[in-house]
């Protein structure tokens, strides 16, 4: 893939200069070679900082929520996965389509800074592709005003639900032991929630004190309820961007639960891909069919 940074900078510059947008969200090079963190710019002369390299892994779309009331127009760069998150936020009516200028970037996979560090690599070529990118189904943006670069082929190979099936094959006690070992680690730092494009409520149910649905005490029971609740709130709405799992400092396999839910929704209520079509009907749990499977007779 050729480096689209030049085109990105040029376009961003034009958008800011002619006043089409009030700000641009992209990526810049960080202090360390394996970091390309989010960048926010409002002035044309800053556009030279924009990059789109191997480490531009962050989804930027949840940042739109911070400015949802400002009336400002944002130019935003989206990869395939990010664009589905954007559709999620648009479908949930959190921002207006007119408030974003969407610049699509086909993406053949990014790398995870933490992996760069833990692998002991000293340059990008030594770093393996990020786990979430290995399972990518939508490398090309599903929504955009303009696209930079050529479409790329989805590289997901093998069974999308292989990891889920592995867990399904366990006995109840084995499953519980597995999830206990994972959820016991949870710090409840809420990074998975804060990065999630489906977690776009103004006030999260967890933050409401009356009634408090979840105690602040950190223990296995509460951690489980935290993760089950979050997964259920995102049921049928999760766009599989994998950001939750990427940002988790404790390595909890959050997507294994999200993917289970996707698998079950497809099996129970028919094939459904969240965040792919902007004008789609309500998510699966916001609707029903009288012919849905009947198990409760």
């Amino acid at each position: 893939m050729s480096d689209p940074s030049g085109e990105m900078r040029e376009l961003a510059k034009k958008l800011l200069e002619n006043g089409e947008v009030d700000r641009i969200i992209g990526w810049e090079k960080g202090n360390l070679w394996y970091q390309s963190p989010p960048l926010f710019i409002t002035r044309a002369e800053e556009t030279d900082r924009l990059v789109f390299d191997d480490f531009a892994i962050n989804s930027l779309v949840t940042y739109l929520l911070d400015e949802r009331d400002s009336g400002k127009k944002t130019g935003i760069f989206v990869k395939g996965c990010d664009s589905r998150g954007l559709v999620r936020i648009l479908q949930d009516k959190q921002i207006a389509r007119e408030s974003v200028y969407v610049i699509g970037l086909p993406c053949s996979g990014k790398k995870d800074p933490r992996q760069a560090l833990s692998s002991g690599a000293s340059e990008s070529s030594q770093v393996p592709p990020a786990a979430k990118c290995e399972e990518c189904l939508y490398p090309n943006p599903v929504i955009y005003d303009v696209i930079i670069g050529e479409a790329v082929e989805a590289k997901a190979k093998g069974d999308r639900f292989a990891a889920v099936k592995e867990i399904e094959a366990k006995t109840a006690d084995e499953k519980y032991a597995y999830w206990t070992s994972q959820y016991s680690k949870c710090l409840r730092c809420l990074a998975c929630r804060n990065v999630c494009p489906a977690c776009n409520c103004r006030e999260c149910a967890f933050d409401i004190s009356k009634p408090r649905i979840l105690a602040k005490e950190n223990n296995l029971s509460h951690n489980m309820v935290y993760h089950l609740t979050r997964a259920f709130h995102a049921a049928g709405r999760c766009v599989e961007c994998g950001e939750c799992e990427r940002v988790c400092p404790m390595g909890i396999p959050i997507m294994q639960l999200n993917k289970k839910i996707i698998k079950e929704i497809n099996d129970l209520f028919g094939p459904y891909e969240a965040g792919v079509k902007l004008d789609e009907t309500p998510p699966p749990l916001g609707t029903y069919q009288t012919s849905d499977p009947e198990e409760f007779m």
Binding site: K175, Y178, W179, S221, H222, L257, L268, F296
Partner: protein, 148 residues
């Protein structure tokens, strides 16, 4: 919230919570009473307007608190007093049961039934069946918010 973990010693009896919709299942429970249909005394009912009102949050809370099983009962699909509430409930709980199963909680611990106001016998039979199922599974410790 949460529970004292001392119930193992004495003769253990399953503690079961049932959410019943006001119009069908609760009426079915009333009819079972009217008919004096004997049932195991392990189930406690919370009356809700509709099975569509039941948030999975309540169910997780119940297991945290220490119940051994939960029953959610509503009108038969098509007979919902509010026309569509149980269709949403059906989707919600088809999925939620599978999530429970996936994290290792025996699916028998969360059961759903459609019971009409005319089905007093079905209500009583369901209470007996669910109680038997939970008794066979033994006390639940999973998801429980335990402390000394």
């Amino acid at each position: 919230m949460s529970v004292k973990s001392s119930d193992a010693q004495e003769a253990w009896e399953p503690k079961i919570l049932a959410f019943c919709c006001n119009w069908c299942s609760y009426a079915g429970a009333d009819l079972a009473g009217l008919n004096r249909t004997q049932q195991p005394p392990n189930v406690r009912i919370i009356r809700v307007p509709c099975s569509g009102r039941v948030d999975p949050q309540f169910i997780m809370r119940a297991f945290q608190d220490g119940v051994d099983g939960v029953l959610v009962a509503g009108c038969h699909p098509g007979d919902c007093h509010y026309s569509t509430g149980n269709f949403f409930a059906r989707r919600r709980f088809l999925l939620f049961q599978r999530i429970f199963d996936y994290i290792g909680i025996d699916p028998g611990r969360l059961q759903n039934r459609w019971i009409s106001g005319a089905e007093g016998d079905k209500f009583a039979a369901t209470v007996s069946k669910v109680t038997e199922d939970i008794r066979a599974l033994g006390p639940n410790r999973k998801l429980r918010d335990e402390h000394e």
